[in-house]
C-alpha cells in the first residue's frame, strides 16, 4: 500500500514540476522590433532608346523595413551549463541541408560538394549577379578579334594554401586530367569546346592543342568552334605540385581528395566529420585579402533541426524553406535576406505524343494554370512567375505573352485543337523539393477545370530521370538553374540534336529556326545583335511552349544579426560561396 502511494505521489510531483517549468518559459514579453529584409527584385522602367521609349527590366536591391511586434522569450536560466560555446563571435556557423558527397571535381557536381569546393578553390573568373564575368584568379584577359582565343593573366599574388604560387602548369594539369580517358571526368562534357580536347580524350593526341602556356602566369585557350559564351576554361584548378605525378588510376583514391588541404580559395580545408560538419579556416594570404572571419563551420542537418539550432544560437545562417519564412521573421536577433531565384520550375511536355503536338494544347495548359496564385500559395510571396527559360534581364524581350490565367481561353484553344477529353495525361515529378511536390496536385486540379485529366506520379529523382529519358511521360515537372549566358542551357535543352542520350531535350522539340538562331547566337559577337537573337529565341519558345514555364523560387536566408554585410547572390542555394560572394569582407560583431 505504502509503496504504491509513494509511486503515485512521485509521478504527480514530477508532472507538476515539468508543467511549471514549461509554463514559466512560455510566457514571452512582447517587444517591438524592426524587421529588415534585403530583397532584389526586377522592376520595369521606361527608357528612351534611340528616340523610342522602351520598357526594360532592371534589377534593384531594396531594403524593406517594417515594424513588427515580436515576442522575446525570457532568458531561461541555464539548468545545465556543460561546455561553454567557444568564441561565438569568431566562427561563422552555416547550415547545410545535406552532406557533401566528395571533394573530387572529377567525380561529382553535387550541390553540397560544390559548396565546399567554392570556399576552398578558385577559378579563373566568376560571375556577378547579372551573369557577367568578373576577374577572380585571372586579373585580366584578352580576347582575339575573331573571338576564338582567350589569353588569361593569372594574378601574381595567387598562391596555394601551402605558399606555392598558382601557375599555368596547374591549369594545364587540371585540364589534362579532365580530358584523360583514364580519369573519366564527369565534367568532361563542359570542356569539349577547347581545341584538341576530343582528340586527346580519344587517345589520338598526347596533349591538348587548344591549351597553350605562354609563361608562368599566362595561359591561352583556343576554342574548337568560336563561341560568344565560351566558358570551358572556368574549371576548378588543382595543385600540380601535389597531383602531377599521380597516375590517373590512383587519382580517385588519393588522400588529397579525402581532405583537400591545399587549395587556392579564400578558406583552407581543415576537416570533415562525415555527416556532421565541415571545418574551414581563413587563408590569410588570399589574393583578395585575408578573410575577416577566421573560421567557418558548415553544419549538416535536416531543415527543421537547423532552424531550431538557429533559434538556439547554435547556428548563424541557414536557408529557410518558404513555409517557415513567416515564423522565422518574428524571431528576435534574426534577420532575413532574400535573393531572387536563378532558375525556373518547368513543366516539360513530351512532344513525341501525338495529342501534345498541337501548340494550342500547350498554350491552353499555360492559360489554365493560375500561376500567380499558385506561386503565392506555395512560396508565400517568395516566388516569381516566369515565361522564359530563365530570368536574366537582357535576354527577355518586353513583348512576351504572359499567359495570364484565363480558363475560358484555355477551353477555347482546346476546342480548336480538337482535344479529346478522355485522354489522360501522366504528370511525373520528383521528390526532393517540397513546394514542387505540392504544386503537382494544384496543377492537376487546375487542368481538370478546363477538361484535361491528369494522373500524378511521384518518383525519386534518379528513377524519374531514367523514365523521362526513355520518353515514358506526358508532362514532367523539373527545375533548371541558369547561369550568366543562356547559350549552354538552350543548347542542352532546346536544340533538336540534344535529345537523349546526347542532351536534355527530353521533349524531342525540333524547330529549325530555333536551332539556327541558337547556332547563330554563339558566333555573334556584337553585344546588341547577340541580345536580339536570344530575345527572338525566347519569343518563339514563348509562342510554341515546348515547355510550360512556371516560376522561380526565391531563396530566403535567415541569419543572426551578428553577421555584418551579409548580401547573398542569387546562386547561393547550397550555402557555398555563392551565398557569400563577399565572404572576405563579412565580419561578425560581438
Amino acid at each position: 500500500m505504502q509503496s504504491r502511494k509513494r509511486i503515485l505521489i512521485g509521478w504527480m510531483a514530477l508532472v507538476t514540476l515539468v508543467t511549471v517549468l514549461i509554463a514559466s518559459c512560455a510566457t514571452p514579453t512582447p517587444v517591438e522590433k524592426i524587421v529588415t529584409q534585403v530583397v532584389k527584385e526586377t522592376v520595369k522602367e521606361t527608357v528612351i532608346v534611340e528616340g523610342t521609349p522602351q520598357v526594360i527590366e532592371k534589377e534593384v536591391t531594396k531594403v524593406v523595413k517594417e515594424t513588427v511586434v515580436v515576442e522575446k522569450e525570457k532568458e531561461v536560466e541555464k539548468l545545465v551549463e556543460v561546455t561553454p560555446v567557444p568564441e561565438k563571435g569568431r566562427i561563422l556557423r552555416v547550415g547545410m541541408w545535406s552532406s557533401p558527397q566528395s571533394f573530387n571535381p572529377f567525380v561529382t557536381t553535387g550541390g553540397y560538394s560544390e559548396a565546399v569546393m567554392d570556399y576552398v578553390y578558385a577559378t579563373l573568373t566568376r560571375s556577378d549577379d547579372d551573369g557577367r564575368r568578373i576577374p577572380y584568379l585571372a586579373e585580366s584577359w584578352d580576347i582575339s578579334d575573331d573571338g576564338s582565343e582567350y589569353t588569361f593573366h593569372i594574378r601574381e599574388d595567387a598562391v596555394w594554401h601551402d605558399g606555392t604560387p598558382v601557375t599555368a602548369r596547374d591549369f594545364e594539369m587540371s585540364l589534362l586530367l579532365h580530358g584523360s580517358p583514364d580519369v573519366a571526368s564527369i565534367r568532361y562534357g563542359w570542356r569539349t569546346n577547347i581545341k584538341g580536347m576530343e582528340a586527346y580524350n580519344a587517345g589520338e593526341a598526347d596533349s591538348i592543342e587548344g591549351l597553350q602556356i605562354i609563361d608562368e602566369k599566362t595561359i591561352k585557350f583556343v576554342q574548337e568552334e568560336s563561341h560568344y559564351s565560351f566558358y570551358d576554361y572556368n574549371y576548378i584548378v588543382l595543385p600540380a605540385h601535389i597531383l602531377a605525378d599521380v597516375s590517373p588510376a590512383d587519382l580517385e583514391g588519393h588522400p588529397y581528395f579525402q581532405a583537400p588541404t591545399v587549395g587556392c580559395g579564400p578558406y583552407k580545408f581543415v576537416g570533415y566529420e562525415p555527416d556532421q560538419y565541415v571545418e574551414l579556416e581563413a587563408f590569410d594570404d588570399f589574393f583578395l585579402g585575408a578573410p575577416k572571419i577566421k573560421r567557418i563551420i558548415l553544419r549538416i542537418g535536416t531543415q527543421d533541426v537547423l532552424l531550431a539550432q538557429l533559434q538556439k544560437d547554435e547556428l548563424d545562417v541557414v536557408l529557410v524553406p518558404p513555409a517557415e519564412v513567416e515564423r522565422v521573421k518574428n524571431l528576435y536577433d534574426i534577420s532575413l535576406a532574400t535573393a531572387m531565384g536563378s532558375g525556373a520550375q518547368i513543366i516539360h511536355v513530351n512532344l513525341q505524343k501525338p495529342y501534345l503536338q498541337d501548340k494550342r494544347v500547350r498554350q491552353a495548359i499555360a492559360y489554365a494554370l493560375p500561376r500567380e496564385d499558385m506561386a503565392q500559395a506555395l512560396y508565400l510571396g517568395g516566388g516569381t512567375v516566369q515565361n522564359s527559360p530563365n530570368n536574366i534581364g537582357w535576354a527577355i524581350p518586353p513583348d512576351l505573352n504572359p499567359y495570364d490565367y484565363d480558363p475560358e481561353k484555355a477551353k477555347e484553344l482546346l476546342a480548336e485543337a480538337g482535344w479529346d477529353s478522355s485522354t489522360e495525361l501522366l504528370l511525373r515529378y520528383p521528390t526532393g523539393n517540397k513546394p514542387r511536390e505540392m504544386s503537382a496536385p494544384l496543377i492537376q486540379s487546375a487542368l481538370k477545370e478546363v477538361g484535361i485529366e491528369v494522373e500524378l506520379q511521384i518518383s525519386d529523382f534518379s528513377a524519374l530521370l531514367e523514365d523521362v529519358k526513355a520518353g515514358e511521360y506526358d508532362l514532367a515537372l523539373l527545375g533548371w538553374m541558369s547561369y550568366g549566358d543562356p547559350d549552354s542551357h538552350l543548347t542542352q535543352v532546346y536544340l533538336s540534336e540534344s535529345t537523349p542520350p546526347d542532351g536534355w531535350n527530353i521533349m524531342y522539340y525540333k524547330n529549325d529556326t530555333v536551332d539556327e538562331l541558337i547556332r547563330e547566337g554563339r558566333v555573334t559577337f556584337d553585344q546588341a545583335q547577340h541580345e536580339k537573337i536570344y530575345q527572338d529565341i525566347y519569343r518563339i519558345l514563348n509562342d510554341e511552349l515546348p515547355v510550360v514555364y512556371l516560376w522561380s523560387e526565391n531563396q530566403t536566408f535567415a541569419y543572426n544579426n551578428r553577421i555584418q554585410g551579409f548580401s547573398p547572390s542569387r546562386y547561393g542555394g547550397t550555402m557555398g560561396r555563392g551565398a557569400f560572394p563577399n565572404i572576405v569582407e563579412l565580419t561578425l560583431s560581438e
Partner: protein, 318 residues
Amino acid sequence: MHRYILQRVLTAIPILFGVTFITFLIINAAPGDPVDMMISPDNPLPPEGMRARREALGLNKPLLVRYVLWLRELFQGNLGYSLVNHEPVLARIGRRLLPTVQLMGTSFLLGMITGIPLGILSAIRQYSPLDHLTTVLAFLGISSPSFFVGLGAIYVLSLKLDLFPTAGMQTLGASFSLIDCLHHLILPALILSVGTTASLMRYTRSSMLEVIAQDYITTAQGKGLTGRQVVLRHALRNALLPVITILGLSLPGVFGGAMITEQIFQWPGIGMLSIHAVTARDYPVLMGLNLFSAILVFVGNLLADIGYAIADPRITYK
C-alpha cells in the same frame, strides 16, 4: 554443443550467399544508377562525362559478371570501394561502428534498465493503477513514430528548456570532452530507448505473468517465502528466458543503427550511412552493409539459441 555450433555456421554460408545475391539483384533493379545521383538535379551536365564515368565505374558490365567480381574481391578480404568517394567500404562502415554502438548500446541499456523492472512490477501488481498506467505508456511508446517524438523532444527539451543540445555528437568547434559527448548522447539515446522500453516491458510482463501462474510459485509462497524472495529467486529467472531470446535477436539492431533518429540528431551512425548509400545507389557500400547485417542476424540468432541452452537446463543441442 560444439558440433551444433559448427553445423549452424556451415548452414549459414549458403544462406549468406543467397542473401547477397538477392540483395545485388534488388539494388540493381532500382531505377537510376550512381552516376545519375552524382550530378546536381538542377544543373544539366552534358552526357559524355556521365558515359565515361559509367564506364570507369564498371557499370556497363552484365549483372552476373559484376556479382562474381564482387565475390572474388570478397574472398580476398576486399569489400570494394565506395562509388561516391572511393573510400574503402570496410573503412567507411567501420568508421560508423563506434558511434552506432554508442548510441544504440546506450539506448538499449536504458531500455533494459527501465523496461524490465517496470514489466516485473506490472506483472506482480496486475490490474493495479500502476499496471494500467504502464500499459498505456507502453502502447504510446510503441506506436509513437520516432520522428515525431524526436522533433518534439528537441523542441521542448532543447529549444524551450535548454537542457540539451539540439544535434550532433559534440559542440561545434570545441575541443573534445567526455562530458560534452555524453551530454549530446542523452537525448537521442532517450528517444530511441522509448520503443525498446515499451516492448521489453510488455514481454517481461507477459512472461512474468505466465510464470507466476505456475504451481511452484504457489508452493514457494505457501512455504512462507517473502514476496521479494519468490520474485527474485524463483520467478524472475524463469521469466527472463524469453527475454534473452529477444535480446539476442536485437543484436543486429544495436549495430544496425536507427535511420530516422540518426537523421534528426545528425548522429553519424550506420543508419545514416544506409540512407546515403541507397540515395546515391552506392552498390559496394550497400552490399557491404547487407552482408554485415546478414552476418549479425545469424550471430544474434545463434547467441540467443546458445544463451537459451545455457539458461534452461532442459534444452540441449546435439
